[in-house]
Symmetry: C2
Subunit: 247 residues, 2 copies
């Protein structure tokens, strides 16, 4: 088994200063939301956004803050967290470039959860007001946002199902497969999950303790289904993991 000396994960992150006007325009154009817009419309939309860089660990906003802005990930990874009274927190979602988060609804409410940069992050920010105006003006965009939100709701229902009825093994297998699909990159060893993935984080995503996450990961590795090290996991046999979920 080819042992790796160091984390093979490589996050491509644009420098913060690079996330500026015309780069921003390029990013916006890549977003599925805005595919239907003309160049001139896109530029008008672009002017409503401003961008902001964040360092790993930095919070974009905290649960309870007044929810008056909508964010789009341009570069990096953002963790959507729900803090728990008992210190333990739950990771609701891990967002990648092109995904949005923050305030969406018409009436501004406090953010129900916190957003934290996992890597270096460049985020596009728009005031809720401006965002609603864009949606009003461009129904096609609104439909795409609706699609994305509906897809996220489906994912959330997946998680509820799992957390409500599955063993630790299954939860972890499910999360690994999900991350593999979302962030995987083929690799000589398997499908490498392109994000720093510590045991604690895996635990937050699955609602188990880090110790349990570690044990399950060890077991999966013994079975030869995954390859893993400090802060990274690669899937060697996705099929076996899927099989675990099916039974």
């Amino acid at each position: 088994m080819g042992k790796r000396r160091k984390s093979p994960v490589e996050i491509v992150t644009t420098d913060v200063h690079m996330c500026s006007l015309d780069v921003r325009l390029r990013i916006l154009r890549r977003l599925p939301f805005f595919h239907d817009l003309s160049e001139s419309d896109l530029e008008r939309v672009n002017r409503r956004f401003h961008e902001h860089g964040f360092e790993p660990g930095q919070f974009l906003y905290l649960a309870g803050d007044p929810g008056e802005r909508m964010f789009v990930v341009a570069e990096g990874r953002v963790r959507l967290l729900r803090p728990s009274s008992g210190g333990r927190q739950v990771m609701l979602d891990l967002l990648i470039p092109g995904e949005f988060f923050g305030a969406l609804g018409s009436d501004p409410q406090p953010y129900p959860d916190s957003a934290q940069a996992q890597t270096n992050v460049c985020a596009l920010v728009i005031s809720l007001e401006d965002f609603r105006a864009v949606l009003q003006e461009h129904p096609a965009v609104a439909l795409r946002v609706l699609d994305a939100t509906a897809a996220r709701l489906r994912d959330a229902h997946d998680s509820i199902h799992l957390l409500g009825a599955a063993s630790a093994e299954r939860r972890i297998a499910h999360v690994l497969l999900k991350l593999g699909r979302k962030l995987g990159r083929a690799d000589e060893t398997g499908l490498l999950i392109q994000t720093p993935l510590g045991r604690d984080e895996l635990a937050e995503m699955t609602g188990v303790t880090p110790e349990t996450a570690s044990r399950v990961i060890s077991q999966f590795q013994k079975e030869g289904w995954i390859d893993t090290g400090r802060q990274w996991v690669a899937l060697k046999d996705s099929f076996a993991l899927e099989n675990l979920l099916a039974n």
Copy 2:
């Protein structure tokens, strides 16, 4: 403690045959979605819907069916279920008049979950195609649908948080409060939850076993926080329950 002889829950359900053209129009008008539409627009939208009655226990659709229709609850209660391999199922949501479900996104995918009538139900049905057309034509409606979907996503995140990090007691307290807010009606004994609520169902909603649900409910009753019987629960001291969640 005022003992009740029989279930105090009273569901007002229109007869199936009553859910017809102009009643339907009245129902549509009450929906927040369509508040912004003119009478004539509303009538045009109305013509795209058709309605359908269902008996308790009947399925509106099954997980895996091709997802090509969107539903709106006009009367009654609909359970959104995710079947589990192990026979055990998870209730993702309980829908009341005015709420929608089924297919939403632009590309038709199989329904990820099943919808079952809990009571007598009258549902308005629209093909996904027609629904998308309505949204295209009426951006204001699209925005309201987006709002509703975003709100549902928030709720789903609440559930994930709870299932991922809370004890059986807390989960049940949370669900009771949620149902109280959504379905509660003031009553001489407290806030009566206006829906048949068996222990099995409570278990499906919270990801615990019916036995555990029963034990927790008994305990809450001993504490004097709720009043309960066969298939019903009334909240006598919501504050105590909320307190449980806060600590």
